[in-house]
Symmetry: C2
Subunit: 372 residues, 2 copies
């Protein structure tokens, strides 16, 4: 129940114990096509270049920036947590001139802020984080995408924590480049970064004046392997692709809308239970993530001691706050397979017990009743 990796379904674990085949084996090539097709399903896109990059979510972030940015390009990045901050760092290492649009950690990036920034510069792309795993906030992005396109910029979106847990509509929102991770709401082990590029983004990468600074992440080369030509580029992580194939199958079998509803219901259940225990969520009301709940640590409670006891006595992992939120919040993941009513109640019971033991008054029965 941390901020990822989430729990993994038994059939996904089982898929990884299948014997290895080669990265150009006809059986694997067939599986690659199925993975691309299922990823298009979860990203809700028709983009041809929709595939998993052979690295974790951060490699997906780097993939988007190294392919689209050339030294001297202007970019606008929304920063309201760790991952917006990371985007700035990655963009600068590509030689970009970055305009930061900042919001307090725990609040969304407002479209008006992006509109204001776009009056001051002519960026090649605008990038924001959909679900900020460090703060638990979900920024609505449709309006921001519209503003970016009006300014003739590409729109880049981080969906590491949102994909598979709440609505992500790449085509409807007109996202040009998107990346995610496998270990959050898709409930697959970490190791791959699903990405998708629009035609406009691919053209931008193809028209570059200088080569992409990363050979490993160069989409112009990767598209020859993941496309129809099957030119050897690198040895794909076969086993991780077995896992992703099965995780995507389970995701689509449940159905995206059912899956989103499950995430929402368990979030509401947790929130109600916590409220009955006198605890509240830290993220902006109305924009709280269903899959990653940031809980404000009450005054007088030792944040780290609680986490430690949850792990040692109750076998429950949750996450700590990062950066300015260190010591101030707990991060409770309800992602993918982990998002169950049973987990919500187990967590409430464990947390309630620990708080009680530390001398706090907690009405655990009321909390469990509120959780439903």
């Amino acid at each position: 129940m941390g901020p990822g990796p989430s729990n993994v379904a038994p059939s996904v674990l089982q898929a990884m114990s299948r014997p290895l085949v080669g990265h150009l084996d006809p059986a694997f090539v067939q599986m690659m096509e199925e993975i691309k097709g299922m990823l298009r399903g979860v990203f809700q896109t028709q983009n041809e270049m929709t595939f998993p990059v052979s690295g974790t979510g951060s490699a997906g972030m780097e993939f988007c920036f190294v392919n689209l940015i050339e030294p001297g390009d202007e970019v606008v990045v929304g920063v309201n947590g760790v991952f917006g901050t990371r985007m700035v760092e990655v963009a600068e290492r590509c030689g970009a001139k970055v305009t930061k649009v900042e919001a307090p950690w725990g609040r969304i990036i407002e479209p008006q802020q992006i509109a204001d920034a776009l009056k001051q510069c002519r960026p090649k792309l605008v990038a924001v984080v959909h679900a900020e795993t460090s703060t638990g906030v979900l920024t609505p992005v449709e309006e921001i995408a519209r503003l970016a396109h009006e300014a003739a910029a590409l729109f880049v979106l981080d969906t590491v924590t949102s994909l598979g847990g709440c609505s992500v509509k790449i085509d409807a929102w007109q996202v040009d480049a998107v990346y995610s991770g496998t270990q959050k709401c898709l409930s697959c082990p970490p190791g791959l970064a699903p990405v998708s590029l629009s035609k406009r983004a691919l053209e931008t990468a193809a028209r570059r004046k200088r080569k992409v600074q990363s050979w490993y992440l160069d989409v112009n080369l990767l598209s020859s392997y993941w496309g129809q030509e099957r030119v050897y580029h690198h040895t794909a992580p076969i086993t991780m692709n077995y896992a992703l194939h099965e995780a995507l199958r389970l995701t689509l079998e449940e159905g995206l809308e059912n899956r989103f509803r499950r995430h929402q219901q368990n979030h509401e259940s947790l929130k109600s239970g916590l409220a009955a225990m006198g605890l509240r969520l830290a993220a902006q009301e109305g924009h709280q993530l269903w899959q990653l709940n940031t809980v404000t640590v009450p005054d007088g409670v030792d944040e780290a001691a609680v986490r430690k006891r949850l792990l040692s006595d109750f076998n429950i992992e949750i996450g700590a706050g990062l950066g300015p939120l260190k010591g101030k919040i707990w991060r409770v993941g309800l992602m993918g397979e982990t998002s169950t009513k049973e987990n919500v109640k187990t967590f409430l019971r464990a947390l309630g017990q620990i708080l009680k033991d530390s001398g706090r008054k907690v009405d655990l029965e009321a909390a469990l009743a509120a959780a439903g």
Copy 2:
């Protein structure tokens, strides 16, 4: 029996079906330390920074170059196959001025060639491929390392295919930066790139004037996660690390010398069997790889048709030639778990049958007897 991924031991496959824990979980941190320790064992090094990069072997290559090179640096690269060619490409994308030292594909890089090149330039590093997977040749590197150090350059080595299959002595040979892959002679699925950096290499990375162009591969950040501080950088591929842990345990349990001897014996067995069938190895005599055997396709034989039938009728995958060797060689892997006498005989029987069916005269009994 292709050029990797090799077969994987049942206990390695099983390790991957263990439940996920977090990337900062105390149990995982303990496992990280054990992986580092075992990797030091197989690399034969005391280097503190010895760990698996979260990507495939090519990400390991990129890791070495992006951390050590700054724009304008001179480098010398030995090129005698696909992977030397790739090193040049990666180095150039880091802004390096590259001097290529070329040998025909299938032959080693001679120390004298490196010595000659070092008279013409003042490189920051000299890089060569130990075991060229594209040609089946093993370049002796101890003398080249000495020449590099005499010229005050770092020495970088690609051991993707050599590590775990033949002697790789990082400290004795004074290699400053080395990378490998998991899917060859370590018999672990692809997805991680073991690397090791000497103190001198780490100092070079720490003293850089500009930041490493890849955030994902920046050793200055990665060493805070893989070192004692445990600062979150990216979400490590947990499951792949479970697999690597078990694969390394098996490697060291067998013993490096025993393992190398097994690879040598099965190579010799294959070579003798092929010779009795009138087939010969393509790589330079005296420098042929044990783990990857390149077989010259006899005149009048359809290279691709043979490979296709091996796969469809005998369930055996082998590799095709790349670049100038396309259509001219087969690449037969005897790596890690795949390196068994039984596999050698099964392959000889299958290949003999196919050649016979195509009208060639083959003394299969003699070939099997020669294989021993």
